[in-house]
């Protein structure tokens, strides 16, 4: 893909490591050098521990020398969104509330990465508590889009997307509640995937909206994303919503699926607000599939127009409940101005949370409050059923659905910061997937005239990740969008 070590795919790196043409320490050093060279401008990381990363790399090389390599991810750096707990490392959620928090334990995905020999590499920036679409809500700094530093990388997992895009990590993990993996992946020209709800354990992921949150991979290719998902997926007794389901060898299985597939196009995803260049790029991708012999069918998802409203009721309600734990008592920021215990709650939360988090706590508290619950929360949960049913009906006649990932390419820093509703609309094509619990992937599918990346979203059926990867890969293999690297 690229002659630069820091731009190789994980699959390429795995081979180099296995053939002893490369050591993990050499790889880690090149990633650190690259990060030092560009992160002052990209600002993908909240922090990273060079010595710790090199020690992990050394341990991997030692394992390999003794013939004890743990598998394809052994010795490969994986960047982690700063909401995923790694024992002994900072865990900030890009919030002042947790600015000094150090995690006392590993999340389940961290444990699985360590078992696979991967190097846990740094803490990646996000919108505070994963609430936002641009990383502008981070309490620390705004991450920049590697393709245009004046623009946002998307969000909330903007640090993860930008790090993979800028050559600062070959792989990364993010979390996706309403599009927070897929939208930044689209804006930064990388692959980003949200698994079926319940496939990956949420234990040790800082909770935003528990019925929607899923952890998923960022990568430079579909194969790489499949590799990383395979390492983190699986039932976990510590997450009661995680599913008991077989995790196949995605990489092996997906290569066997050649199609042709029946693919759905929903007119609701090509309406008002869609940037014409994005629309054209996605239409061209649809034509590609048609020429490959896929059957392209119109499907109807009639409740799509309500998805955003349902999402902002359910997500804020769950966030207001989840974030009640930040009370300044047991951990996190405690106000020095407080006069009594109750005052600690009020003032610590006022000082510790940023504006978007406060807005969502207020909205969520309101929709759950006495007298409003039925009108908002309960009604939203019922419409959620209808949205989910739309997808399940569509899957009677198609294998997957093709849509744009984001209605527009990356917008400018500050452009939507003052208008929450406009910002919320950038998730319009991704949130239905979370409400329905479906898997979705964004793959690069072109560039705007001004050189900004565009993403194609493929929405799959529950627990049919293999099929989803195969469909995305068949497009990826015939195009070279991913190899158009940012000029940094």
């Amino acid at each position: 893909m690229s002659s630069d070590l820091h731009y190789k795919t994980a699959t390429e790196l795995t081979e180099l490591l296995a053939d002893k043409k490369l050591s993990s320490v050499e790889l880690m050093k090149s990633v650190i050098d690259r990060t030092k060279a560009v992160d002052g401008r990209v600002k993908a990381f909240n922090s990273y521990d060079e010595k710790d990363a090199l020690a992990q790399a050394k341990a991997s090389d030692d394992r390999r020398a003794r013939g004890l390599s743990a598998g394809p991810l052994d010795g490969i750096p994986v960047g982690l969104k700063d909401v995923i707990a790694v024992e002994g490392q900072p865990l900030t959620a890009s919030s002042k509330m947790l600015a000094n928090f150090v995690s006392p334990y590993d999340s389940t995905v961290t444990k699985k990465l360590k078992q696979a020999g991967a190097i846990c590499w740094g803490r990646l920036n996000l919108d505070e508590f994963a609430m936002g679409s641009s990383t502008e809500n981070s309490a620390f700094h705004t991450t920049r889009n590697p393709y245009d530093l004046e623009r946002v990388p998307g969000g909330s997992s903007g640090g993860s997307a930008a790090a993979v895009s800028a050559g600062e990590a070959p792989l990364a993990l993010g979390s996706d509640t309403g599009g927070s993996i897929r939208q930044p992946a689209a804006l930064c020209n990388v692959v980003g995937m949200k698994p079926t709800y319940g496939l990956v354990s949420r234990y040790g992921l800082i909770a935003f909206a528990s019925s929607l949150d899923q952890i998923g991979p960022f990568a430079r290719s579909v194969d790489d994303a499949a590799l990383l998902l395979g390492a983190i997926a699986g039932h976990d007794p510590l997450d009661s919503t995680s599913f008991k389901t077989e995790v196949p060898d995605y990489c092996l299985e997906l290569a066997k699926r050649k199609g042709p597939w029946r693919l759905g196009i929903a007119k609701e995803y090509f309406g008002e607000g869609l940037d014409p260049e994005v629309g054209a790029a996605v239409q061209a991708a649809v034509e590609f599939y048609r020429k490959q012999g896929c059957e392209i069918k119109e499907v109807s998802l009639p409740h799509t127009e309500y998805a955003l409203d349902v999402y902002y009721i359910i997500a804020t309600a769950e966030c207001s409940s989840n974030l009640a734990r930040y009370d300044g008592i047991r951990y996190g920021h405690r106000s020095k101005e407080a006069t009594d215990a109750i005052d600690i709650y009020f003032k610590s939360r006022a000082e510790g949370f940023g504006p978007e988090v406060k807005r969502r706590i207020i909205l969520g508290t309101y929709v759950l409050s006495s007298g409003y619950y039925d009108a908002y929360y309960l009604r939203a949960q019922k419409v959620r059923t209808l949205i989910r049913q739309d997808f399940l009906d569509a899957y009677q006649s198609v294998d997957a659905i093709l849509t744009p990932t984001s209605p527009t390419p990356a917008f400018k820093v500050g452009e939507k910061a003052a208008n929450p509703l406009a910002m919320y609309l950038s998730d319009i094509y991704t949130i239905g997937v979370n409400l329905a619990g479906l898997p979705g992937i964004s793959v690069p599918c072109g560039f705007s005239k001004s050189g900004l990346p565009i993403g194609l979203q493929v929405i799959g059926q529950p627990f049919k990740e293999t099929e989803l990867f195969a469909i995305a890969r068949s497009y990826e293999q015939a195009h070279e969008w991913g190899s158009r690297l940012p000029a940094l």
Binding site: S211, I313, L363, L378, Q381, K382, G437
Partner: protein, 96 residues
Amino acid sequence: MSTDLNIDHVANLARLALTPEEKARFSAQLGDVLGHIEQLRKIDVSGVEATAHAYPVFNVWADDVARPGLPVEAALQNAPEHRDNMIVVPKVVEGE
């Protein structure tokens, strides 16, 4: 569906101190969002079941086996203030 968001009442429920500027700004911004949400009223949801989770799992049982928890030091390492293996808070009861 009413959008008479009483910001003082809701902020109190959320245990969140807001400045007068925040109250004014959030009220206006959330008014826009709630205005958008109004369209949910158009949908007939009679007879529709509520979805709490996309793939609900019921009756998840675990064997009742003791296992090690976080050591006290680890559990307290992020506490704003602690003493004698306890978190220090201002007095919450009157008298003795």
